[in-house]
């Protein structure tokens, strides 16, 4: 391990962090703009060209806002909860490959931070940590709306985690590996969305529930719970929750792209470096952005689902179908 390798890893980690936080800012812009267009409006267009400076204005506003901590709140956990929520959603993207190996400055640099052989387990376990942040926030706020929101978030997360894990097992069994790089490479001939269409549909539904997006945004239902677990949060702490939510949205799009849509695979990917790997990055981010736009499209279309229906859907429909899918995939893999 030489000094250049350490430098390479630091640079890659910094790039990932920068892309995720910058991506968070511009996904909020994308969401506003796309929702506005789908509601036959124009959307933000005053701050900068096409409203592109809106995230900057939001950030400045959040920084200068008063940090309010309720008198009855548990101060320590109230402060630490947003941090616990945002860190897992940032580090989860470390294992997702953006492309193959590229030759830069005489070194061959792989376009992913690390390729661990239990990447899927890593993703599932790290994303589950962020629910602790939400639960801590709900308890520490000492507010009944926050309490309800946090309880809903926890119950929903536990119910949908099962189906999500089982849906992810489909591509894992097809690729016979838990490393995301191997899973992406296994989709060279055929993207897993075709043989694993059932798992794909379950993944889309459960990932929406996992990141608390419409129509499964029960935990922060503005109309019923005045914001759920982030009722008592203001200023930068609220911005951190917001950031966690949008970064999770990007992360789940990246994961879904890698598992079902072939990640960086696309025509011309086998070209020699640097053109092949650069094309790979473009394919990967193009697919991710399309996935993000579909998530926003869902928000523009569907109303919030009722809470008992959410639970029934998770346990009575998605979970059995996901189990069946795992069984069928396993049988096909063995007899093939």
């Amino acid at each position: 391990m030489d000094i250049a390798m350490v430098l390479e890893w630091v640079v890659k980690a910094a790039v990932i962090l920068a892309v995720m936080t910058g991506g968070f800012a511009y996904v909020t812009w994308l969401e506003r703009k796309q929702l506005a267009r789908m509601q036959v409006r124009i959307g933000p267009n005053r701050a900068g060209f096409a409203g592109l400076l809106i995230p900057v204005a939001d950030g400045i506003k959040a920084i200068f806002k008063e940090e309010l901590i309720p008198a009855t709140a548990d101060k320590f956990f109230f402060v630490i909860a947003p941090i616990i929520t945002v860190i897992p959603s940032l580090i989860v993207t470390a294992v997702i490959p953006w492309g193959r190996t590229i030759d830069l400055f005489g070194r061959s640099v792989s376009l992913y931070l690390t390729d661990i052989n239990v990447a899927i387990l890593y993703i599932l376990s790290v994303t589950s940590i962020s629910v602790y942040g939400i639960t801590l926030a709900c308890w520490a706020s000492n507010n009944k709306y926050s309490m309800m929101g946090g309880l809903r978030a926890t119950a929903q997360m536990i119910s949908y985690e099962l189906a999500l894990g089982l849906a992810v097992l489909g591509p894992v069994m097809m690729a016979r590996s838990m490393s995301i790089v191997s899973i992406v490479e296994a989709q060279k001939g055929l993207w897993f969305i075709v043989p694993q269409i059932v798992a794909f549909m379950i993944f889309v539904l459960t990932s929406l529930a996992e990141i608390n997006r419409n129509p499964f945004d029960m935990s922060e239902a503005e109309q019923e719970l005045t914001g759920g677990y982030n009722t008592e949060y203001s200023g930068m702490k609220f911005a951190l929750f917001f950031m966690a939510e949008y970064i999770k949205m990007i992360a789940i799009s990246m994961i879904g792209t890698s598992l079902f849509l072939g990640g960086y695979i696309g025509p011309g990917i086998d070209l020699p470096s640097p053109w092949g790997p650069l094309l790979g990055i473009i394919y990967f981010w193009g697919k991710t952005i399309i996935w993000l736009m579909c998530i926003i499209w869902v928000r523009a279309t569907l109303p919030r689902i009722r809470y008992d229906r959410l639970m029934a859907l998770g346990w009575k429909i998605l979970f059995p179908i996901a189990l069946l899918n795992v069984l069928v995939t396993a049988a096909v893999q063995i007899w093939k």
Binding site: Q34, R37, M38, Q39, V40, R41, I42, W297, T301
Partner: protein
């Protein structure tokens, strides 16, 4: 059961295609400070106090508008006209006429109550203030400017020329 399932799938496809189609239709937004939507002819906006063609004020200071005003936004104080200093055709005129625009609910009852059609709600709606004091519109702000070539009030008039509050009464049509 199966029929229900297919119906819900069709409903889902319809919903998603509707939002997708909406994204490619022209936005209905009006970019406010640059583009303004024309108000309706009978829109009730800021009030103005009207004048006759000879420049005299229509308001005779009867304070029926103040009596009709539900939130009590109007304050009227009347004074006597003389032939040397004549403001309005009748005996009296409004020496003070103030409307508190923060109280006003733009119901138009003052317009209905006015016997001489002196107060009229116009089309201006962009009223904003930085302090409460400036929300009170005085008579000078509300009164219509005089037409060119017409004398402003107070006017000196011949004795006995104006002895009726409403000089020319039109029959209802």
């Amino acid at each position: 059961m199966i029929k229900q399932f297919f119906e819900s799938v069709i409903a889902l496809v319809q919903g998603f295609s509707f939002t997708l189609q909406s994204a490619f239709t022209k936005p209905v937004t009006i970019q406010y400070p640059e583009q303004k939507r024309e108000v309706r002819e009978r829109f009730k906006g800021r009030h103005s106090l009207m004048r006759y063609e000879n420049g005299l004020e229509k308001c005779i200071g009867c304070a029926l508008c103040a009596a009709a005003c539900p939130p009590g936004a109007i304050f009227v104080e009347a004074a006597e006209n003389t032939d040397e200093e004549r403001y309005s055709p009748g005996e009296r005129y409004a020496s003070t006429y103030e409307i508190n625009m923060l109280r006003c609910i733009y119901c138009g009852f003052c317009e209905d109550a006015c016997p001489t059609e002196a107060i009229v709600l116009g089309h201006e709606y962009a009223l904003s203030y930085t302090d409460r004091r400036s929300s009170i519109f005085t008579k000078n702000m509300l009164l219509q400017p005089v037409q060119p070539g017409v004398m402003d009030t107070p006017q000196r008039t011949d004795p006995g020329q104006f002895n009726r509050a409403v000089p020319i009464m039109k029959n209802p049509q």
